[in-house]
């Protein structure tokens, strides 16, 4: 089929493997994503905190620099599990912002332009289509979460020595796993919302709402009922607990208040009430359930044609 001949001809060249075929989708999507100046600016801003953290790590190990800045090493944040957990929390917030910018049109645009039959009439399954779309988010969020997190960890290890590395090697899995749980949760949620809503703005709004509305509601529940159970419906609090758990920093009791209690033991007496976070397993369960619902929604919505039964 040459241009000058204007004839139809079959393709007789080589083909790529069916395994890597879904990677065509993120390649095209990423090129589109970086066309947006707003996205590119925010993406660059995502590296400010890792840069600051790198400088902090460097200062910890450079006496001359500390002397020049007239700073005592004790005044600096310690480089420990808490440091890396905070790093993950900050980068996790940036990851959320990137998701809101990138994810909403991923499936909704294909739905509104009826592009799904075109994708699915190719040797590409529905699962591969969703995987392809998910790879866009996973790739971008990985670049701002566990990739800089691990680079920072190994930078610290290279300066602190082998002993520090062996003692803290477990944090590699905490950084990677903590990031991946957040990335998978965000990507599944975003794709599920994108498959439900055809308009980008509405999809972005819904995604933001899903994080902030339950969080606010959870806090109201906490205040009204003197509990921490409201954190169960807050995605951010749930995820924070998982990160704390992975870094070995999770404590169940996060507060104590004085209040009147009526139980078989106490008769409207003033006692100290411990405020207990939901158990770690409950946070893992909540995240798993949310992911399962998103997968179910995607399985229902990502179809070449909707069948009216």
């Amino acid at each position: 089929m040459a241009v000058y001949e204007h004839l139809y001809g079959a393709y007789e060249g080589e083909s790529h493997t069916s395994f890597s075929r879904f990677l065509v989708i993120p390649r095209y999507a990423l090129r589109d994503v970086f066309k947006s100046k707003l996205f590119t600016t925010i993406f660059i801003l995502c590296f400010i905190y890792p840069l600051a953290a790198t400088i902090l790590v460097y200062l910890h190990h450079n006496v001359n620099a500390l002397a020049l800045l007239q700073v005592n090493v004790r005044e600096l944040l310690p480089i420990d599990a808490s440091f890396f957990q905070t790093f993950l929390k900050v980068q996790g917030a940036f990851a959320f912002i990137l998701t809101v910018l990138v994810a909403p049109p991923l499936i909704s645009r294909d739905l509104s332009n009826n592009a799904l039959p075109l994708y699915l009439s190719r040797p590409l399954s529905r699962t591969e289509y969703v995987l392809g779309k998910m790879t866009v988010i996973v790739f971008l969020l990985s670049l701002v979460t566990w990739v800089p997190g691990l680079l920072l960890f190994f930078f610290q290890a290279s300066l602190a020595g082998l002993t520090w590395l062996w003692t803290n090697l477990w944090m590699v899995s905490a950084i990677f796993l903590g990031s991946m749980v957040w990335i998978i949760l965000l990507s599944l949620l975003a794709l599920a919302v994108s498959s439900l809503v055809k308009w980008r703005v509405v999809a972005s709004g819904a995604l933001v709402g899903m994080f902030f509305v339950p969080t606010a509601f959870g806090e109201i529940v906490n205040e009204l009922f003197l509990t921490r159970a409201g954190h169960m419906i807050s995605l951010w609090a749930t995820m924070n607990n998982i990160w704390l758990g992975l870094f070995g920093l999770f404590v169940r009791q996060t507060g104590e208040i004085r209040g009147r209690v009526t139980t078989p033991i106490y008769d409207n007496e003033l006692v100290n009430i411990a405020l207990l976070e939901p158990p770690l397993w409950a946070s893992w369960l909540a995240v798993t359930l949310i992911c399962a619902v998103c997968v179910w929604l995607l399985a229902r919505r990502v179809r070449a044609y909707e069948v009216i039964k």
């Binding site: 040459a2 004839l7 645009r109 332009n113 039959p117 190719r122």
Partner: protein, 319 residues
């Protein structure tokens, strides 16, 4: 030789509603027309062949590959042009077609080359860098055709390719389909409401009604067979003798009105024999037509037969 499409007791049900009912048959034409009234199951059949709907029972094969067990292989050999507006927004047409080629398994560099070629082939060469969303309806149809042929499929499925096209664009589309058909490198399955489109492009038709196959015929053979039907308009002379003479030649005939005679020519009888008979009986032959069944006749006949079959099934069911 492997059939293009083989249907083996293929049934598809949506909920409790049967859409395709035990379809059986083999389609071998270079261009197969899929006809039927609205709701007959044409689009469902296409979607089932593409693996969008799983068969409730039975199966189908495309070039010998099972649509349920070899779905990916089947889709790699098929190009699909959907009926409705389908494109990927915010993408130039050449990138859109290239993406589709890559998803079919063509490496990136070859895919770009193929995308340019396909777009030139369908006549969108000059507009290939424009976003597809800015195209007119006719251009969008051509872009859909380009994405369906870019990977050089062995079977091209076209669902209502001329829908909403103005006459020049329609004629361009039809001529492209005929070119592909005559090239012989790909078979075509064309679903259309427009009998004229099917008549112009297809050499085999499959007529569906209420999820059943009511006709499956080779149009070429049908046309050849129909050449033996002749309609005469006569005036004056000994008409009765003329008719007897026709009968004597071994031709079946039917009188229609006072002047018209319809007859089926035997292979041994020539037109000159009719003129000779007319001369013998003093009959003037004012008009002689090769009465050929149009696709419309075939379609309407199939619909009537379908009605009879449906009634028959209903009666059997009630008994």
């Amino acid at each position: 030789m492997t059939s293009v499409i083989e249907l083996e007791q293929l049934s598809v049900t949506f909920g409790k509603r049967p859409i395709l009912k035990s379809l059986d048959g083999a389609l071998n034409g270079r261009a197969i027309g899929l006809l039927g009234p609205n709701g007959a199951g044409k689009t469902t059949l296409i979607h089932t062949l593409l693996g969008f709907h799983p068969p409730t029972s039975g199966t189908a094969r495309i070039f010998g590959q099972d649509i349920t067990t070899d779905a990916k292989h089947v889709r790699a050999t098929v190009g699909y042009m959907p009926e409705s507006d389908s494109f990927i927004a915010k993408m130039s047409c050449v990138h859109f077609v290239r993406l589709m080629a890559e998803l079919s398994g063509i490496p990136a560099n070859h895919a770009l080359e193929r995308a340019h070629e396909a777009l030139f082939y369908v006549g969108l060469g000059e507009a290939r860098y424009r976003p597809v969303d800015s195209y007119s309806l006719g251009m969008k149809q051509l872009a859909k055709l380009a994405q369906a042929i870019v990977h050089g499929p062995k079977l091209i499925i076209l669902d209502e390719p001329t829908n909403g096209l103005d006459p020049p664009t329609r004629s361009r589309m039809i001529s492209l389909i005929r070119q592909i058909r005559d090239g012989g490198r790909a078979r075509i399955l064309l679903s259309s409401h427009l009998l004229r489109d099917v008549e112009e492009c297809c050499d085999e038709i499959l007529v569906l009604k209420d999820g059943h196959i009511v006709a499956n015929c080779n149009l070429e053979e049908e046309r050849k067979a129909n050449r033996k039907f002749i309609e005469l308009e006569t005036r004056g002379g000994n008409r009765a003798g003329f008719v007897e003479g026709i009968s004597g030649l071994g031709c079946e005939y039917a009188l229609s009105g006072e002047r018209r005679i319809k007859l089926i020519m035997q292979e041994t009888v020539e037109i000159s024999d009719l003129y000779r008979l007319a001369l013998e009986h003093g009959v003037q032959i004012r008009r002689l037509n090769f009465k050929r069944d149009s696709l419309e006749d075939i379609f309407l006949k199939a619909m009537e037969n379908g009605n009879a079959a449906t009634n028959g099934r209903a009666n059997n069911g009630s008994v």
